[in-house]
């Protein structure tokens, strides 16, 4: 981890705030990110059914490998195409 000295006038928080959480997923586009662990697709298939029944539009994405962070292009694609994202973290 790199620690640097703040070059600004320090009038704003140093930490980046989390994105606002939507009150409801109805009508929103939700991305489902499969990290490529075995059977992640089974879990996400079920999540997709539930989301669709809530009125969400679902888009599916997949990381090339679970061993590395998602490529920046994939993260960017999800950020511009979706209102929210759910990541299947484990087996």
């Amino acid at each position: 981890m790199t620690t640097v000295l703040d070059p600004t006038n320090e009038s704003t928080p140093a930490t980046i705030e989390r994105a606002r959480r939507p009150a409801s997923l109805a009508g929103l586009t939700v991305g489902l990110l499969d990290i490529s662990k075995p059977r992640g697709n089974v879990f996400l298939d079920r999540v997709e059914q539930r989301l669709v029944s809530l009125g969400s539009t679902v888009k599916r994405y997949k990381k090339p490998t679970f061993t590395k962070p998602a490529p920046v292009d994939l993260r960017h694609q999800i950020a511009i195409e979706c209102d929210a994202v759910i990541e299947a973290l484990a087996d």
Binding site: T2, T3, L5, I16
Partner: protein
Amino acid sequence: MTPPLPPGLVAFVKRDCETCKLVDPLLGQLGAAEPLTVYTQDDLAFPASVSALDDRNLEMSWHHDIETVPTLIRVGADGIEEERIVGWSRDQWQAFTGNIELGMTLPEFRPGCGSLSVDPSRSDELNARMGGSGLATRRVDFAELEDDFEAMYDRGWSDGLPLVPPTEARVLRMLEGTTRAPDDVVANVPPDLVDVTVEKIAVNAVMAGCKPEYLPVVIAAIEAICTDEFNIHGLLATTMSVGPVFVVNGPIRNQLGMNSGINVFGQGNRANLTIGRAVQLVVRNVGGGRPGGVDRAAQGSPAKIGLAFPEDEEGTPWISLAEERGIAAGVNAITALCVEGPRLIVDQLSRSPESLTNTLAECLMTTHSKRMVAGIDALLVLSPEHMARYVEAGWDRARFRSELEARLMVNTDDIIRGTGGIEEGLPAEFAGKQLPKFRPGGLHIAHAGGPAGLFSSVFAGWVSGPTGSVAVTKEITP
């Protein structure tokens, strides 16, 4: 707080030192005779004759000012250091330990080696880690998955170009460039009107890519622009495409390796580019002046990224820009001007000073618009080949100025609104007058450029005088 040394004998050693290896067996002997604590800087298996405490993080070495290994220290029962010796000298070690048989088979004398705690490649990091740097600036931790350079872009600190991460060690090194205290307030920076300290300027100077020796120039530049006369707030807020451009005079130009020659306004010289950039980063990050925020320039200018260039003082017998503005010869100074980028003035055929002056005047007349009079200042930078015309003819700066200004009188009949099919111009009541293109004192003259090329440049300004921006010159002090 300094961690105490244990009572008895204390030794600091490293394996990567022939003298330490030489005295290794002696440490075993000493340890058998009285309490001995050995700190090893690089290898826990060294010395072989006695077990050692781990000082690979160099904490004890740093706190106890170990400059040489081996260092042998005698510490009293109260934990206070009584005496120390460094390197190997048989007489010294025998006297120090009271053992007159010690090391009889060894050579009489061997100098020690440098302690790792003063190794130049580590000392900045150690000073930052151990020293309680005293720096007041808030720390920002980047996350593990963040790329340092992307993280700085993401936080909005960049002018669009990559920044050097302002780590504590780099900022401490930058502060070595000035004798001023880190908490010394340099100026109050518009538009947010925030007091800026030497330390905060140093943080931005690191990011801009400055060397420590540039820092006094950056500080003087900040002092110059954060004055009521220079009016950096107005310069930001205007929709005109001007920025602060700096001219450096005095011996510091050459000490910093600044370029006053070929491509003087262009790329290729670290000091020319990073000094002005550091100033603009302070305006952005400390003052809060950002494009689209308070900075409303309609088109902007590449010169706004940062431009500080030195005058070529050696290439002309004329007094310098700073001298003309009241600074003594040989004194380091920086002049801040509120101007657009440079614009070429071409005259390849004039051989007489009169002819060349006519061309310069004709071009200067058109800065911003032929119809703008007495409203803006300008900086004329003569190239060496143009300067030569005047030097050969024996014109000095004062003669040149008076000849040029005499040619810069505007007949207002030519620029009344509606004349020449142009709606822009002066109101009709100004007809029948002779007005100067530039107000008195509004035309600045400097000398810079490569040895070949019959081209000079003009940087045109913004609203001049007390309601706009006035050039400000500050001495550069250490």
